[in-house]
């Protein structure tokens, strides 16, 4: 069995990877909607395979400020995942959680940041439990970390991660809650042979 590069895997099994993305993102989005007591009206997640050089502009202008939540992924597979939101989406989400006026947009305080981390926990947990359920692999998230900065700077983290193993990265876009209008993006960054493990667990001929 020869070792495949991540790019080769991405090219051979785009539908499988998209499906993992869809189910994971769907689960995660449902979790947020439940938490916020929103009417669920999720768009079908849009899965894109991008060149790493394009990641910096995938969410909007390179210098637009976004919120990134990053968690490590461990146990049977290793790597990390990210949930990203544009700043207005993050404000709407935190305002809803904190029961504030919808248009409040002062800089996030400590409480807001912990709320954002908690959102990250819930999203990652739901995403990974979907993946876990499909593969029978034990997949656990680590503590989340938050960064609020220029999109290109935050996205350099997954760009570099994918750049180490290939030229392509998988980005999943989802919209949550029709009255709230939150745009969220997921990036799963498997390390080492984790992608192969996932695909093998799904019964694909790797």
């Amino acid at each position: 069995m020869s070792k495949m590069s991540l790019d080769e895997i991405n090219q051979m099994f785009p539908d499988v990877l998209k499906e993992i993305g869809n189910i994971g993102a769907g689960n995660a989005t449902t979790a947020i909607a439940n938490m916020l007591n929103l009417r669920m009206d999720m768009s079908v997640p849009n899965v894109e395979l991008l060149n790493v050089e394009q990641i910096g502009t995938a969410i909007g202008a390179e210098d637009s400020v976004i919120v990134g939540i990053m968690l490590g992924v461990e146990t049977d597979i290793e790597g990390s995942m990210m949930f990203l939101m544009d700043l207005p989406s993050a404000h709407r989400l935190v305002n809803r959680l904190m029961m504030r006026e919808a248009d409040y947009n002062e800089e996030f305080n400590e409480m807001d940041l912990s709320a954002i981390k908690e959102i990250g926990n819930i999203i990652a947990g739901a995403y990974l439990s979907a993946l876990s359920g499909m593969t029978n692999l034990t997949i656990t998230p680590t503590v989340p970390y938050v960064a609020i900065d220029m999109a290109a700077a935050i996205l350099s983290v997954p760009a570099i991660q994918f750049g180490m193993v290939g030229d392509k990265a998988l980005l999943i876009k989802t919209e949550i809650g029709d009255d709230l209008g939150i745009n969220g993006y997921y990036i799963l960054m498997p390390e080492g042979d984790s992608y192969e493990k996932i695909l093998r667990a799904l019964g694909l001929p790797i």
Binding site: S5, D7, V52, E53, I55, G56, E62, D63, V65, G68, M70, G72, S80, T142, Y145, V146, A147, I148, D149, M150, A151, A152, A153, I154, L155, S156, V157, A159, I160, Q161, G163, M164, V165, G166, D167, M189
Partner: protein, 160 residues
């Protein structure tokens, strides 16, 4: 007034005064600016990873500190710069998420170290740098005087 030419991620460009170069949102990547104060030939590279020899897929030479800096220098010399006058300034190499441990997270620091080492190997003097910490940087290099302007979210722009 010259044009402000944009350099993308894993990309490099050379220009001459009055034109200037910029790259937006350096995170763990490094922006390497080089200029020749006499001919005012200026270059900027936006590298993502320290070492092309550690990566199987290394066809884009602008992606790596070792090959990117060498190419930038060659292109500048072709454009009329004199190697012994070229000065370098670098910025970036941040740790965007303070997670400790893992390779990915220290890649900013490794990028900065690799950039310094390559400049030294090529005999280019590194006269200023603004690397590390935990924030993204947009940089602009002005070919007229070699000013390297750094912009970050919530900070007053500063020159190095």
């Amino acid at each position: 007034m010259g044009e402000m030419i944009k350099v993308g991620m894993a990309d490099l460009k050379v220009c001459k005064a009055p034109d200037n170069l910029t790259t937006i949102g350096l995170g763990s990547c490094i922006g390497i600016a080089m200029y020749d104060p006499v001919t005012k030939v200026t270059g900027l590279a936006h590298i993502m990873l320290p070492d092309s020899t550690q990566i199987r897929n290394n066809s884009n030479i602008a992606k790596f500190a070792d090959t990117g800096i060498k190419k930038l220098l060659d292109d500048m010399i072709k454009a009329g710069a004199s190697k012994n006058r070229i000065k370098a300034k670098i910025a970036g190499g941040a740790k965007m998420f303070d997670m400790g441990g893992s390779n990915t997270i220290n890649v900013g620091q490794r990028n900065a170290e690799a950039s310094r080492a390559k400049l030294k190997e090529l005999g280019i003097s590194l006269i200023a740098e603004d690397c590390g910490l935990n924030f993204g940087r947009t940089v602009e290099i002005y070919s007229e005087n070699g000013d390297f302007l750094i912009k970050a979210v919530g900070k007053t722009p500063y020159k190095i």
